[in-house]
């Protein structure tokens, strides 16, 4: 029941604390698109860091084995 209510109410303005945030459509403001861009950037940075970390570790491991 809570699940159904939650989903049905998920997109409703009642969830918002301040009305101004939801004034207009989400594609009209800068809040949503700004957050999207920031998150894409963050994901790219984290992925690259993880990959670089892995390759660095592998290079070090290979050097030690030699």
């Amino acid at each position: 029941m809570a699940f159904m209510l939650g989903v049905l109410l998920a997109g409703v303005a009642a969830w918002a604390e301040d009305g101004e945030r939801l004034a207009g459509h989400h594609w009209e403001g800068t809040e949503y698109i700004g957050e999207i861009r920031l998150q894409i950037g963050l994901m790219a940075i984290i992925s690259c860091t993880m990959l670089a970390g892995y390759y660095l570790r592998r290079v070090l491991k290979n050097r030690n084995e030699r």
């Binding site: 699940f3 159904m4 939650g6 989903v7 049905l8 998920a10 997109g11 303005a13 969830w15 918002a16 604390e17 301040d18 945030r21 939801l22 459509h25 989400h26 594609w27 809040e31 949503y32 698109i33 957050e35 999207i36 861009r37 920031l38 998150q39 894409i40 963050l42 994901m43 984290i46 992925s47 993880m50 990959l51 892995y54 570790r57 592998r58």
Partner: protein
């Protein structure tokens, strides 16, 4: 660690041998066959189809209002049905395979864990797609019966709903790598709700929170949560408001990137897990 690289490689080196679509497809097909036999799939699809079909009974409203309410209810049903399917099927797939030990003969084959996770995710999405397709056909037929034609906005709205469901399925698949189905379903649902109210609720809450550890913590959670509301094009469908193409393109890229990133985390985690 090998699997982490294979995982990343799967996404990067398309067609270079690492991204072996045949093996992924075999796992996806198996997952689709398994999911489509589950009771939860049948029940959720039937309930949603019944909800959509019952919108026909909205005869108390005037013609214009009736169509708008119909679209509103049907789009909410498709989003709810799709998300519920993604959570239910995504959270059960991998733990069930581990529990029932059907995973052993599969892992004894030259298949990487990344390919397995990708296959399971694809299988879940294919099943959800079948359910959403059935709902969309009924929905389109209802709209056509009201205004005698096909509404192109419907396809756009459903496509972006599927993209939102794709993120939910990816989150469920990743959490299910290290948690039980019940915990996965509960946690994914929480993330889903929080992701839906992220900008409207959390954004304001963070602004009002005094500087300190709490604010930093909320900030981190805020940026981790998916931005799900941006996939909601219900308003565009109901009012026929055009959405800028550049915005849609960025949201689509975001949906795919977020799903891939979440799955990547799952692959890293699953690569280290003992089965």
């Amino acid at each position: 660690m090998r699997d982490q690289v294979l995982g990343v490689g799967s996404w990067v080196l398309v067609g270079k041998g690492i991204f072996d679509m045949r093996k992924i497809w075999v796992v996806a097909k198996m997952s689709l066959l398994e999911n489509s036999r589950k009771q939860v799939f049948h029940v959720l699809c039937l309930v949603m189809l019944a909800l959509i079909a019952s919108s026909m009974l909205l005869s108390i409203f005037t013609e214009g209002v009736r169509l708008k309410i119909l679209k509103d209810i049907c789009m909410t049903s498709i989003l709810f049905g799709g998300s519920a399917l993604a959570i239910a099927l995504g959270s059960m797939g991998i733990p069930n395979d581990v529990e029932s030990r059907t995973i052993y003969p599969i892992f004894a084959r030259p298949i990487s864990r990344s390919q397995y996770i990708t296959g399971k995710f694809l299988g879940t999405m294919l099943t959800v797609f079948l359910g959403v397709l059935a709902m969309t056909i009924v929905f389109a037929a209802l709209i056509a019966s009201f205004n005698g034609g096909f509404d192109p906005y419907l396809l756009l709205a459903v496509a972006f709903t599927l993209l939102e469901v794709c993120i939910v399925a990816a989150i469920a698949t990743t959490i299910s790598v290290f948690a039980s189905p019940a915990v996965t379903a509960a946690f994914t649902f929480m993330i889903y709700i929080c992701g839906t109210i992220k900008i409207g609720y959390f954004g304001g809450m963070i602004e009002r929170t005094a500087d300190g550890i709490s604010k930093s913590l909320f900030g981190v959670i805020y940026h981790i949560l998916p931005n799900l509301e941006c996939f909601n094009l219900k308003a565009s469908l109901v009012h026929h408001d055009p959405v800028p193409a550049s915005y849609l393109a960025q949201v689509a890229v975001y949906g795919l990137c977020y799903s891939a990133f979440v799955l990547f985390i799952g692959m890293v985690k699953f690569g280290r897990r003992e089965v």
